[in-house]
């Protein structure tokens, strides 16, 4: 599903279009818990983050992970700083009045699938 189709099926507003032209939205991860977003998502460059959080940290987490797009649910209004950040990054930012559950359901029904979850790998001591 393309970004414009996503906006259409979730009844969303596209606040930031992003730099890539109508990108493919193939995968998603939904959470308000940013700790989980940081810990679990993988393949982020193709992953849309669905969240109800509109704190500055959402954009910083999305920036660090290289998230493909953000959908803000439950009718939250992102502050200007969030819109500016997304614009600077060229990251699509959408809003919808739907709940997270319904947003995810609609996205899944339209072919969007869960992003990969990061496997735990063995670590060695620094020295």
């Amino acid at each position: 599903m393309r970004l414009d189709e996503l906006a259409s099926v979730i009844g969303g507003d596209t606040l930031v279009q992003g730099t890539r032209e109508n990108p493919e939205i193939g995968y998603a991860f939904a959470a308000d818990l940013l700790s989980d977003v940081l810990a679990l998502t993988e393949g982020e460059d193709r992953t849309t983050l669905v969240t109800g959080m509109i704190s500055p940290q959402v954009m910083r987490v999305a920036d660090i992970l290289g998230i493909a797009a953000i959908v803000v649910v439950r009718g939250k209004t992102p502050p200007p700083s969030m819109i500016e950040y997304a614009t600077e990054l060229g990251m699509p930012l959408l809003t919808t009045k739907k709940t997270m559950f319904e947003t995810c359901g609609v996205m899944y029904a339209n072919g969007v699938r869960p992003c990969r979850i990061r496997p735990v790998h063995k670590t060695r001591d620094c020295r």
């Binding site: 704190s55 500055p56 940290q57 910083r60 660090i64 992970l65 290289g66 790998h121 620094c126």
Partner: protein, 150 residues
């Protein structure tokens, strides 16, 4: 790069890490490594903000084969490191969890994203953590063999 992180400064939480990732990418560190460094430093930064008494330092050093992240604070220290490393275990205050942090994934996530992880902590004294993230482009066969023979 060295950043001083203030305890309780949630407003700027993650801004040092976003800058670190951006600077690393700009200086030619591959995106995958920069992303892992960003995750490790973000977790460390939030830990300093949420848990430390007086904040602490976050230092990032770029070496030819790895990026090293060092975190140091002067208290309160961790009573039980093994317990603190357990995914899901958290002593975060409510204001942190309200903002989506403090889920008890921080230290475990740092370890998962690092190729080397070392932690020292003493209650009443402080905590020091060193994480080494191997640079993706530096995994030359010779170097890898060297690791295996260690």
């Amino acid at each position: 790069m060295r950043f001083q992180i203030q305890a309780g400064d949630i407003e700027h939480g993650g801004s040092a890490s976003a800058r670190i990732k951006s600077e690393l990418t700009r200086s030619g560190v591959d995106p995958s490594t920069a992303r892992r460094v960003g995750i490790v430093s973000f977790e460390a930064e939030m830990n300093l903000i949420v848990y430390s008494d007086r904040g602490g330092s976050l230092t990032v050093r770029v070496e030819p084969e790895a990026v090293v992240v060092e975190i140091e604070d002067s208290g309160p220290g961790i009573e039980d490191i093994e317990l603190a490393m357990t995914p899901g275990y958290s002593t975060a205050p409510e204001w942190a969890t309200d903002l989506g942090f403090g889920a008890g994934m921080g230290l475990a996530n740092m370890k998962v994203n690092a190729d080397g992880f070392e932690i020292w902590s003493q209650p009443g004294e402080g905590t020091r953590i060193t994480c080494r993230i191997d640079r993706a482009g530096s995994a030359a066969p010779g170097r890898k063999e060297g690791h295996e023979t260690e």
